[in-house]
């Protein structure tokens, strides 16, 4: 409980500091809107030219896009310490101070940054979700809401876990490794479309290595009434748990890496 209170308190302080430069903040928020708006525009234009993508209708595509951008940017907003700042913490030796304090390192890293500019990206995602839900005429039930919530939370854990891989690399080699971007940003780009349209190697990559298919596509496809690969309903609630598994596994690696951490500070 104490940890959550600490996290909320840090978020409040960080928000205050972000608001010290209102014009810069506004411009950056608009820049984020252009970015995510551009991504969504690409989906709209694709629908305009191609109408369908395999068995997926335009509404379905908007729904998939919305689920991906909401979970990805919620993670980027509240997990900024892991998704953005970590390489700097290692390079500058700031991580040292975190090792001294009587709190978990990951807790402190998460408490160290917030990125409220992402609010516009999340808004674009919510818009896409509403549009997709309307166009595909989703009949929302309690179970579907539950599946939706589970999918979001598990996807966020998965994304946080993937960014944490970068942090692990970072501790060992001090430099941020662009390679992991293929899983994180590549995963976002690829999996804003349903995974079954891709050839087998890519499908394997995003089902096993970075299981967005499990955390996002299985439940989303079921909510849309077109189960992925025709899998039964119970998979909808079991498959997303792979997000937790990935996060747990990487967290163990992270703790292991911390024991090998050699400071760069001066």
């Amino acid at each position: 409980m104490n940890t959550i209170k600490l996290y909320l308190h840090s978020m409040a302080i960080l928000m205050k500091s972000q608001m010290q430069y209102p014009v810069s903040f506004l411009l950056q928020t608009i820049a984020q809107l252009i970015m995510e708006g551009g991504e969504f525009l690409a989906v709209l234009l694709i629908v305009d030219r191609f109408d369908v993508l395999g068995r997926w209708m335009p509404g379905d595509l908007y729904f998939f896009f919305g689920m991906m951008s909401v979970s990805f940017y919620l993670t980027e907003c509240f997990g900024r310490g892991v998704t953005g700042n970590f390489p700097t913490l290692v390079r500058t030796g700031q991580l040292d101070t975190m090792l001294l304090r009587p709190r978990g390192v990951l807790t402190q890293v998460l408490c160290s940054a917030i990125d409220p500019r992402r609010i516009t990206c999340i808004a674009v995602g919510v818009l896409a979700l509403i549009l997709g839900s309307r166009m595909s005429v989703i009949q929302w039930t309690g179970w579907k809401v539950l599946a939706f919530a589970e999918a979001l939370i598990m996807s966020m854990l998965l994304i946080l876990g993937l960014f944490l891989i970068e942090a692990v690399f970072c501790i060992y080699s001090v430099k941020s490794v662009e390679l992991v971007n293929a899983l994180t940003y590549g995963g976002r780009s690829a999996c804003q479309y349903p995974v079954d349209i891709y050839p087998r190697p890519l499908r394997a990559m995003f089902t096993i290595m970075a299981p967005f298919a499990m955390t996002l596509h299985v439940p989303a496809a079921w909510i849309l009434g077109k189960p992925l690969y025709g899998w039964p309903a119970w998979t909808v609630f079991v498959c997303p748990l792979s997000g937790l598994v990935v996060f747990g596994a990487v967290y163990v690696l992270f703790c292991h890496a911390l024991r090998h951490y050699r400071s760069t500070g001066s």
Partner: protein, 265 residues
């Protein structure tokens, strides 16, 4: 004398860019994964609804965009820091124009940065089967036009970059406006979605904008979307935008220099 100075600045920055070969490898692999994802997506779309433009053209477009990604998105991070610390004073003492100095630097960075990545990526794309990778240029003449267009595009993107820098110099906020202009560039230069897949009516407007002159125009010459007979017109439009943007940039930097405050002491 001047040209000799610029040539040596160019050489120095080329060599500087060559120093980070290790970091390049990760970037190349990441860019290749992105290329594969995009090509797979467009192939899946084509399977449902074939288009007038063949899939080979789209996959070639994607690979060329990915290969020269670094040409579009890379900027000189030193300049803003120099203004903030006051080190810009050293640059002002040089017997060269400030604009020219940074123009040569950015051209060197962008050309070396993209060559280092483009060559291995294009070799990889050439090895992929037809319709997945990159096709050969439609004719030798088209290839020559493509290379010419690419060079003008490089000058054009550097001129654009210097305008962005000029605005950053005024606001001293590299994150706000710079980010916004860069993202606009990603969308309107065909990186997010090939400009050839935009609605036909939109393309008439978008291809006339400066952002389409960077990579879209040369790629269209390479794939034959614009035939060689139309090449002079394409290249001329590119060159015209480059001249306009360079002129605007020089004017902006001149006025910036007058109001520049040297910080620190």
């Amino acid at each position: 004398m001047r040209t000799k100075a610029y040539a040596s600045i160019f050489r120095m920055n080329w060599k500087l860019e060559l120093q980070y070969r290790g970091a390049v490898l990760g970037g190349i692999i990441c860019q290749i994964v992105f290329g594969l994802i995009l090509v797979s997506l467009y192939r899946a779309l084509y399977a449902g609804r074939p288009q007038v433009m063949p899939i080979e053209t789209v996959s070639t477009y994607v690979w060329l965009q990915q290969a020269f990604f670094r040409m579009i998105l890379s900027s000189d991070s030193d300049l803003v820091g120099k203004i903030r610390t006051g080190d810009i004073a050293y640059d002002l003492v040089r017997p060269l124009s400030l604009y020219g100095y940074y123009y040569v630097r950015i051209i060197a960075q962008k050309s070396m940065g993209s060559l280092l990545r483009a060559v291995p990526m294009l070799v990889f794309a050439l090895c992929l089967p037809r319709g997945w990778g990159i096709m050969a240029p439609v004719s030798p003449a088209a290839f020559v036009c493509f290379l010419l267009g690419l060079m003008i595009g490089l000058c054009c993107v550097s001129a654009l970059e210097n305008i962005t820098m000029g605005i950053t110099m005024r606001t001293l906020d590299p994150k706000g406006i710079q980010a916004m202009l860069n993202l606009l560039m990603m969308i309107l230069s065909g990186n997010v979605l090939p400009l050839t897949l935009y609605p036909d009516a939109w393309q008439k407007v978008i291809t006339a904008l400066p952002y389409a002159q960077l990579l879209d125009a040369p790629i269209r010459l390479y794939t034959g979307t614009r035939p060689v007979t139309e090449a002079p017109g394409v290249l001329l439009l590119q060159a015209a935008w480059t001249v306009v943007l360079t002129g605007a940039g020089i004017a902006l930097w001149k006025s910036n220099q007058r109001r520049l405050v040297i910080q620190g002491g």
